[in-house]
Amino acid sequence: MKLVGIVGTNAKMSTNRQLLQYMQQHFADQVTIEIAEITDLPAFNEPEDRVAPAAVQALSDQIKAADGVIFATPEYDHSIPAALKSAIEWLSYTTRPLINKPVMIVGASNGALGTSRAQAHLRQILEAPELKALVMPNVEYLLGHSLQAFDDQGNLTDHDKVAELADDVTAFLAFVTLTEKITPENKFMEKNQQFSWSQIADGRD
């Protein structure tokens, strides 16, 4: 099984990147995780031609080829960073690779609360009709005080957090297998591929 882990920030130093790197290594015998960055994507500006810039296309291809996606998001001002939102807007506006894709959300932040509000927003965003990702329910992996969470080798030091993450990943792998069984139906997919907000307004949907 192959997953793409998306680092939800364009910052150079990110504990969310560290978290994905840790998952990549720690669960290497269970699953292959490729890490994808959004740093080089341009800012979304709603171009009229709806063509994905090369970097967006590359990210989109990577997502399409994967069995599932992990988003690791920081929290900026009680929501997801603009950079991650911009990446998602590109995907929703051009290639729409997330439709029916199993998604797991994790988040690391320096404060105590983890990234609960950003994760809740991300969940709502991923449920929008032109994204329609299958976000795994009931799992909210929050890593608070993330600057202190890793040792020099990049390992998570808190045993409870390691165990929780292992449980969540196992559950997610099962979720990916399950969704593969129940979503071979491409009708829904096509419908959403063609979804357009202006159509809604015209009363056609």
Partner: protein
């Protein structure tokens, strides 16, 4: 009432924009609404801080000045568009203009529910602590099916919708008044008295006494003696005045002296607290906003100089000496630029003077090495000079064969060392060295510059001849008094005494031309004034770009890498403005890929004069393992590369005797640094090693070896060229160091008359450049002490030619 409206998308076509425009028209009798667009707002990135960029500052200033803000948000993927999120992140990062600001949210979207989900998210976002806006509750104005909502004139069609908008708006007017009334800080009351407090400035303690009456800050007295002359004065003058005038602690730090500024602010805050009031109340108090009206100042003069550093003030002085008018336009509040930071010694060969001093061990060896250089490696244009120099050296060596002898020097040695010192090959294999005619002018006229400066009022300390780091030879003329500031103090006094005008805080933004001739400039003055200058000539003297890491990285062809977080020894003003101004009128650039690092900089601040900074013959450099790793007398880039190869961080080891040769420090400063943990001191080398987490045996052995080399006058390990003192008298010191960006050799292409040239090698009429902004002289590596020689020499030349060229074109009238 004054409001700001933000169109929540960067899309070309937006119903939210139409909605705001409708609000603007419809309520124009109640409020003045200025609409701001997100089009030019860059995506937020915490590693690329753009808080000070004009775009973000426009948002910051307009929101700060407004009574309230209306945000019109579309809904993208059930949330706010990234473009809107981005500006909010910028406005919650370093700046917080939305803090406490009344905000109304409206939204237009294609679907029936309007933008309900996006509005909900926006509320939560605006409530985050970094933003902390006061969002009006309820009154959710959602405009669904937006593309059918407006008529051809852009007016909302349905009267019901308009009526609802009117009720929302009326409520917002009341809400705004209410919130703004709430934001007026409570009256503060103090326990009257004079409070003695000690704040922390740039160089250490800043004792202050603050006098408070029952309801006012009356007086602020500061002991300014420890702060840096030439840098801190502006802060001492301005910050206390701003605090007292505005009775507020919300005053802006003075650029270039922000640590001193914050020191003063913190000190007053401490006094306020001691007097039983809450300093936070005073921090919230807005100083009286100056009206943002655009005033235009129009000035006509003979010559206008960009930048009041060493080169600029020299050019100005020279113009005045010839009886003409000059205006100097300076970006920062204080004059002096990097020149006030300079260590002081200025290179000029003055053999008569230098002959009074004894040669020191190693110097003859250096001279012998020069005579042994293969002539095939010398560029043809330098060859004739090189041969004459060899004769001079051989005669000197013969004369002093059996005696220590005096310190040798000649104009030619200075010239050839400048050439050899600047000869470098970059990563792509391109070789560069100083352009012969420019180097000749520099070395021929450097001594004349020393004499000229004496005339202006600079006193030099003739009793010693010094060699700054990386200078290769002892030919430094050191001014009396405060290092680089000594030059600036004298020049500034001369310029103002002779009727020259200096405008500070006025960054030049563009040059003006008429029929291809540069004839003036446009600058941004303080308090939103625009300054337009008409002149017969413009002299660019705005310094280099070593404080602009991005620009360094963009042009770099020499270093394998320049870290994003590299520190600099420079003033933050050194952002390459002059290079941009020059190229905007077609100037050619030369040698831009070569920058210089200062190997011996403070690892935390990039500064040069923390710790024990001594003449290089007394440097003993050890790596983190306690071993020497380089010839300490080497050039700056050799030292830098060696440091990088050894993990960047290294230490300068000194003993109590070496300490006495340090520039620019006092025992009190050293004690403070030891206490702060930025300088290490111990009674034995073993203890010093332990503090540095080195093996004591290794460091002890390193020093033992070094001392034996000093005795022998020869260093078999790294071939250090000159020695002076041994490391033997307790206490011992270790000063941590790291390379930082220091100098940019590349710049505008000039000829020997300081005319700026275009890509075809032709003079750009009316434009001159002098100092670090110009390139071609120092090439791959500038020798220590050569820059001061350069700026005072080419500053004079630029002025002379600016006037002379002018006279040949238009007769004196």
């Amino acid at each position: 009432m004054k409001l700001v409206g933000i169109v929540g998308t960067n899309a070309k076509k937006s119903y939210n924009r139409e909605l705001l425009e409708f609000i603007q028209r419809h309520f124009s009798d109640q409020a003045e609404l200025e609409i701001l667009e997100l089009t030019d707002v860059p995506l937020f990135n915490e590693n690329d801080d753009q808080s000070q960029s004009p775009v973000i500052q426009a948002f910051n200033e307009k929101i700060t000045a407004a009574d309230g803000v209306i945000i019109a948000t579309p809904e993208h993927n059930h949330s706010v568009p990234s473009a809107l999120k981005s500006i909010i992140e910028w406005l919650s990062f370093k700046l917080h203009p939305l803090d406490g600001k009344p905000v109304m949210i409206v939204g237009a979207s294609y679907s029936v529910q309007g933008s309900s989900r996006a509005q909900l998210h926006l509320r939560q976002i605006l409530d985050a602590p970094g933003v902390n806006a006061s969002v009006m509750p309820g009154s959710e104005f959602l405009l669904g099916r937006a593309q059918t909502a407006f008529d051809d004139q852009g007016n909302l069609k349905e009267s019901g919708t308009v009526a609802f908008l009117e009720s929302c708006f009326a409520k917002f007017m009341k809400f705004t008044d209410l919130v703004n009334a709430m934001n007026v800080p409570d009256a503060v009351s103090y326990q009257p008295g004079t409070y003695a407090v000690t704040a922390v400035g740039h160089n250490g303690k800043l004792p202050m006494s603050v006098t408070l009456s029952k309801d006012r800050i009356e007086d602020i007295q500061i002991d300014t003696s420890t702060e840096t002359k030439g840098i801190a004065e502006v802060a001492f003058k301005r910050i206390p005045k701003a605090i007292i005038d505005g009775q507020t602690l919300a005053v802006d730090a003075v650029s270039g002296a922000s640590m001193t500024s914050h020191g003063v602010i913190d000190g007053v805050a401490e006094a306020v607290k001691a007097a039983g009031a809450n300093p936070d109340d005073l921090k919230k108090r807005q100083a009286q906003m100056t009206k943002a009206v655009q005033n235009i100042t129009d000035i006509t003069t003979d010559v206008v100089v960009v930048g009041a550093g060493g080169a600029g003030l020299t050019a100005a002085a020279k113009v005045l000496q010839q009886g003409r008018n000059v205006l100097v336009v300076e970006k920062f509040p204080a004059v002096g630029g990097n020149t006030v930071r300079a260590g002081g010694p200025m290179n000029a060969a003055d053999p008569e003077w230098q002959h009074q001093f004894e040669a020191i061990p190693g110097e003859k060896h250096t001279l012998t090495e020069i005579t042994q250089i293969d002539e095939a490696t010398i560029a043809p244009e330098y060859l004739a000079d090189f041969r004459v120099l060899k004769t001079q050296i051989n005669a000197y060596l013969k004369e002093n064969k059996d005696q220590r002898g005096y310190l040798f020097d000649s104009t030619l040695l200075h010239r050839i060392q400048t050439y050899l010192g600047g000869k470098r090959t970059d990563l792509q294999g391109h070789q560069i060295y100083g352009q012969y005619d420019l180097v000749k002018v520099l070395t021929d006229h450097a001594l004349e510059s020393v004499k000229w400066l004496e005339n202006i009022g600079v006193d030099f300390d003739k009793s010693q001849v010094t060699m700054p780091v990386g200078a290769i030879w002892r030919r430094g003329h050191k001014p009396m008094g405060d290092q680089g500031f000594a030059f600036i103090k004298a020049l500034q006094k001369f310029v103002t005494d002779q009727g020259g005008r200096i405008l500070t805080e006025t960054p030049v933004q563009s040059l003006t031309t008429t029929a291809g001739k540069v004839d003036g400039l446009i600058a941004q003055g303080p308090d939103h004034t625009k300054v337009i200058v008409h002149a017969k000539a413009v002299i660019l003297a705005s310094g280099g770009f070593a404080a602009n890491t991005k620009m360094l990285q963009q042009y770099n062809t020499y270093w394998t890498a320049i870290d994003d977080d590299i520190k600099t020894t420079n003033s933050p003003a050194m952002t390459g403005d002059g290079i941009r101004l020059g190229t905007s009128v077609g100037a050619d650039l030369v040698g831009m890929g070569f920058s210089q690092m200062m190997p011996v900089s403070d690892p935390d601040t990039g500064e040069l004069f923390s710790g024990l900074q001594v003449p290089p013959q007394n440097f003993v450099m050890v790596n983190q393992a306690g071993k020497r790793f380089v010839n300490e007398y080497g050039s700056r880039d050799e030292l830098t590369q060696a440091a990088i190869d050894n993990g960047s961080l290294f230490y300068l080891i000194a003993d109590d005797e070496i300490k006495k040769t340090a520039y620019n420090t006092t025992q009190a400063k050293l004690d403070a640094q030891v206490a702060a943990g930025t300088l290490y001191r111990a009674d034995t080398l073993s203890d010093l090693a332990k503090q540095l987490q080195m093996d004591p045996a290794v460091l002890t052995k390193t020093i033992e070896n070094y001392n034996s080399y000093v005795d022998a006058g020869e260093d078999p390990e790294f071939h250090k060229n000159a020695f002076d003192l041994k490391v033997q008298v307790a206490p011992f010191y270790a000063t941590p160091r790291k390379p930082a960006t220091h100098h940019t050799m590349g710049g505008l292409k000039i000829d020997t008359g300081a005319h700026v040239l275009n890509a075809d090698g032709q003079v750009i009429d009316g434009l001159y450049a002098a100092g670090e902004v110009a390139g071609g002289i120092h090439a791959g590596n500038r020798l220590g002490g050569n820059s001061l020689a350069d700026i005072f020499t080419f500053g004079r030349i630029a002025a002379t030619n600016a006037l002379q060229d002018e006279l040949t074109v238009t007769p004196l009238g």
